[in-house]
Point group: C2
């Protein structure tokens, strides 16, 4: 069933007022009719709804409210060195599908592009669409662009903090992940050319662990997908049968 | 170091004659000089080489021949329902990086595109480039487009044969993978809209096992990346320390 992420403020008693964009999607893209059903999700609960009216925006009546959890059992933050816009967009879309909890673009020595926070509203749209399509129950959180220092501060409460580096990573991702059950994992992935030795050194001093991702050299836009897939595979999902 | 996949017939005693395309790459893209070193790989051995001459094509002299293995410990065949050209190309590129052994485009009921074997020389170039960049020691094998029936026949000697389906997959990929150590794994992934019930039924009767890939719905071009990442993570690499 078609799913839409909404904000709590769109709900009034048993009615949900859709945004202009989602109204357009329901009417003109999906060509749905009055009486048809959609699912809404506000990052805490899921609502089975029926289409009531189309004008001026779509109004839904809530038929049933329920708890649902389609997320992995572990909180995962991926911090990714700034890369070209199209690559960042693809990484954001796929990480959302794969169940990543939080994404942070970071400024590293070898980042070839400038901070792109002006793009963040476009990225939010990608995240909303990918979350809906993937049937997530929580949208991936997009943080604003940070320096390595800010990221170290930001991830203080994570019980596993990693950076991926083919040469500094003495252990594999699997070896480190198999040590114990973690609650929150943060992973830093460099831009093209990777992290600089001084950045690795700073991260080690800040309590991060270097891991390698196997013997093959993954491109900067493939590495986050491998890491998120591996973690999702390792931990499985909430409420799994 | 820059790596090039070559064919055995390019080697004469201790000299390797590069193709026109790779000569162009060495001279004009990498702008390398006489005496500089590159690595060549012929799907069985690795050669450390030095550039000897540029004209009419680049000649390399072999300094050292050695065995190297940057592959996963398990043979993985991914069969993917035909999807749009750009998506297929991206999947082929990333699966090559992630260590996939064999790729088969397959014709399924919901495939929206026609067989694209005329594209296969373009796909071979993508595989060669991605194998070189990822430092693989064996190129991913690209099979010609097959029907489901041909694929069943083709994968007879695999000791684990799976298809991904959110509804028919009663077990997760991890549950099935954890049963024992497998030598060769084949996984079928549907096109947009997935496999048809009759296709799932045929696969079950042919000895395939349906698995789900978690609670999130992955797009047809994301699912192969998740599966390959998970298998590579689960099995690790040959010669791993």
């Amino acid at each position: 069933m078609q799913r839409y992420f909404i904000q709590k403020k769109q709900i009034t008693q048993s009615t949900i007022q859709m945004t202009k964009e989602d109204s357009h999607h329901i009417k003109n893209v999906m060509r749905m009719k009055i009486g048809e059903k959609v699912t809404c999700c506000d990052d805490s609960q899921t609502y089975l709804c029926e289409i009531k009216t189309f004008e001026p925006v779509v109004l839904l009546s809530i038929i049933e409210t329920y708890d649902e959890n389609n997320e992995t059992t572990v909180r995962v933050l991926i911090a990714h060195g700034l890369v070209r816009r199209e690559k960042t967009e693809e990484v954001i879309r796929r990480l959302t599908e794969l169940g990543c909890s939080e994404y942070v673009p970071i400024i590293l020595h070898r980042s070839m592009v400038k901070p792109m926070d002006e793009k963040s509203s476009r990225w939010q749209i990608i995240i909303k669409e990918a979350s809906e399509q993937a049937h997530r129950t929580h949208k991936m959180v997009l943080h604003s662009t940070q320096t390595l220092k800010q990221l170290v501060e930001q991830t203080k409460d994570f019980d596993l903090r990693l950076f991926a580096d083919p040469s500094m990573g003495l252990s594999s991702l699997k070896q480190v992940m198999s040590m114990k059950q973690f609650k929150a994992i943060a992973v830093i992935i460099g831009p093209e050319g990777g992290l600089e030795p001084s950045e690795c050194q700073f991260l080690i001093e800040s309590g991060f662990v270097g891991v390698h991702l196997g013997k093959r050299i993954l491109r900067t836009e493939t590495a986050p997908l491998y890491v998120m897939s591996a973690i999702a595979y390792h931990y499985g999902d909430q409420d799994e049968n």
